[in-house]
């Protein structure tokens, strides 16, 4: 039952939210404003909340110094493929673990979950050797295949399984009586109803792929094939010093799609989390 808060409690709650807003919003605000400040103003103390001067040339320099559009495309299409692949595989695996009774299902699920406990740093060397043997180093294949079949997909499978477990069994039984087979039930009944969970998986996966850093620096060596997190580290002067304002302009452009995706899909994101019984 929802209880109405008293005015005093409401004021305290909003006050707390205003205070919390500072650590959450300030870094983003600082990134965006610093991207249009001259370098000398960036580290001024106290920092300027509103820039004294606006220099938008940093944004054009982002594209001059590196094939940034190409790198943007690389990140975009890789994240899209990873998201699509993970949604497909995790929803099928999650459905199988939730609904199909087969010997050893629980043990197999536990083994799959173990994948979450192994850090990426531990598996990166054997993965490099494997992809090297397959001639896939300095291609985008490792950045696509590793997340689809790795830890992010395991987490997505867990999310989907939790959702499908909560789906009333009678819906599937009604579908069986209506004449549907197992795969058609998954495709026409379970999957359309799993939209909140799928949205959450999509956002998680997209974010993970978009932010992937370790794998690109291990597998990719050509700037044209770089993804954005890797490209951000390349905005340095002749002496290796960071070109802060240009780097922050690139960072702003990098963060933009993520922010847009989150703002657009935050309702599904929260619903998806609620279905898993997990908290963010």
């Amino acid at each position: 039952m929802r209880t109405e808060l008293s005015t005093g409690k409401k004021t305290a709650l909003y006050g707390l939210m205003c205070v919390l807003l500072i650590p959450f919003v300030f870094p983003t605000w600082w990134m965006v404003t610093s991207s249009v400040k001259p370098i000398s103003d960036i580290f001024a103390f106290p920092p300027d909340i509103i820039p004294r001067a606006f220099d938008f040339s940093t944004y054009s320099k982002v594209f001059e110094l590196q094939p940034f559009a190409r790198q943007y495309w690389n990140s975009g299409y890789i994240a899209a493929l990873v998201t699509l692949g993970t949604m497909t595989f995790s929803s099928m695996a999650g459905y199988a673990f939730a609904r199909i009774r087969f010997p050893g299902a629980n043990i197999i699920f536990m083994i799959v979950l173990l994948g979450l406990l192994i850090p990426a740093e531990v598996t990166i060397v054997p993965l490099f050797q494997m992809f090297n043997r397959l001639g896939m180093v300095n291609t985008h294949w490792p950045l696509i295949l590793v997340p689809i079949f790795g830890a992010p997909s395991v987490f997505a499978t867990f999310v989907m399984r939790q959702f499908f477990i909560a789906l009333p069994v009678e819906l599937e039984e009604a579908a069986r009586v209506d004449g549907l087979g197992r795969f058609t039930i998954y495709r026409k009944i379970a999957l359309p109803l799993a939209r909140p969970a799928l949205s959450a998986v999509a956002i998680f996966t997209f974010l993970h792929s978009w932010n992937l850093y370790l794998e690109p620096i291990v597998f990719i060596s050509t700037p044209e094939k770089f993804t954005l997190p890797q490209a951000l580290t390349q905005y340095t002067d002749a002496y290796g010093g960071a070109m802060w304002n240009i780097q922050l302009a690139a960072a702003t452009l990098t963060a933009l799609p993520v922010l847009i995706v989150f703002i657009v899909a935050q309702k599904q994101f929260v619903e998806g989390l609620a279905h898993t019984g997990l908290k963010g």
Binding site: E173, A174, D178
Partner: protein, 350 residues
């Protein structure tokens, strides 16, 4: 339409046997109700007919064809579930036409069948709505529409009215009965509500602990229950059970007072449990003395709780009475309305 046969049907979940060899033959066009308390196996039996549970032993046949190994879709049955099981992402028309669509029906044929079913169930104005936009009764009707649209050989209902409030349940009960009269299709209906069973069924199967206790028409079960379980389960308020001694045809209570004289129809002398329905206990000038414990006027009837030879018993009277707590009444029962059950086996003795 088709007859349904259950022959020595058994069901086990692991080592636990839940159905112990059920034999029932359902005639073509019959309305059969499976009734019993929770956990008696009635829903499991229905699900075995539907093909949603495997059959551990025996044979299930529909229309003379053994269907043990057939998938639900190949049995030509339709089922209405307790919680309706409507597809939330489809509107009413789509929900109703989904099975036809999946079976490759043409658009015009589907539209025609959906319109026909919607017309019968009064759903024509709701076809574009989604399940969440419907009331409980409307959802129930859509679930029935989804079943009838395919014109199956057998309808299966699994406690379809349990989620409705009391008033709506009565309305929907009448609608289901009217639907059966209109379609004349074989219907098998599961409920734990004996009033639903009595009002709807051509025949009732009373189940208890995975076994069939009795099969018969509603009035057969009411008038001549085969054992104490059926006697206690069928009828509302429930039958009174009193320990009695039968001597020379006379039914005597524990204090020696005479309840009825069965004459030649009496079973051999001995101790029995006597079952009397509350509505069959009459108040008169003669009979066994009973002390009034409680009077509950219900408008049309009055329920009176009395102490009869030290045992609590209920009377359901059509007339209003002026007696109060502590008063003494004389109660009697007509011999034809006395049910005697064996003390040990609980089987009918007269």
């Amino acid at each position: 339409m088709a007859e349904v046969g259950l022959h020595s049907v058994k069901k086990s979940f692991g080592k636990v046997d839940v159905i112990h060899g059920v034999d029932v033959d359902v005639a073509d066009g019959e309305f059969l109700v499976l009734v019993g308390p929770s956990g008696c196996g009635k829903s499991t039996l229905l699900r075995m007919i539907a093909g949603l549970e495997t059959v551990s032993g025996g044979e299930v046949s529909i229309g003379g064809r053994v269907v043990n190994e057939l998938e639900p879709k190949d049995r030509d049955i339709a089922m209405v579930f307790q919680n309706y099981a409507l597809y939330p992402h489809m509107n009413v028309a789509k929900n109703m036409g989904f099975s036809l669509e999946h079976r490759g029906g043409s658009k015009s044929e589907i539209a025609e069948r959906v319109a026909w079913a919607a017309d019968i169930l009064g759903l024509s104005h709701l076809l574009e709505r989604f399940p969440k936009q419907l009331s409980g009764g409307q959802r129930q009707r859509v679930a029935m529409g989804r079943a009838i649209v395919r014109n199956p050989q057998v309808f299966l209902f699994d406690e379809p009215l349990s989620n409705l409030d009391a008033k709506l349940r009565v309305v929907m009960r009448s609608e289901i009965k009217a639907l059966h009269q209109k379609l004349k299709t074989t219907m098998i209906y599961v409920t734990h509500d004996q009033i639903e069973a009595m009002t709807l069924a051509d025949r009732i199967v009373v189940m208890h602990a995975g076994k069939v206790e009795q099969i018969g028409s509603p009035l057969e079960l009411y008038d001549r229950p085969a054992n104490r379980f059926v006697a206690g389960f069928i009828g509302s308020p429930a039958m009174n059970f009193l320990p009695v001694n039968v001597r020379g045809g006379r039914v005597l209570l524990a204090d020696g007072s005479e309840l009825a004289d069965l004459g030649a129809a009496a079973p051999p002398d001995g101790d029995y449990v006597c079952g009397i329905r509350p509505e069959h206990l009459d108040i008169g000038a003669n009979g066994a003395a009973a002390r009034v414990e409680m009077v509950e006027p219900m408008g049309a009837d009055t329920q009176v709780t009395v102490s009869l030879a030290g045992q609590k018993a209920h009377l359901l009277l059509r007339d209003r009475i002026t007696s109060n707590q502590g008063d003494t009444l004389f109660v009697a029962v007509r011999p034809a309305r006395v049910h005697l059950f064996d003390i040990r086996s609980g089987k009918r003795g007269n």
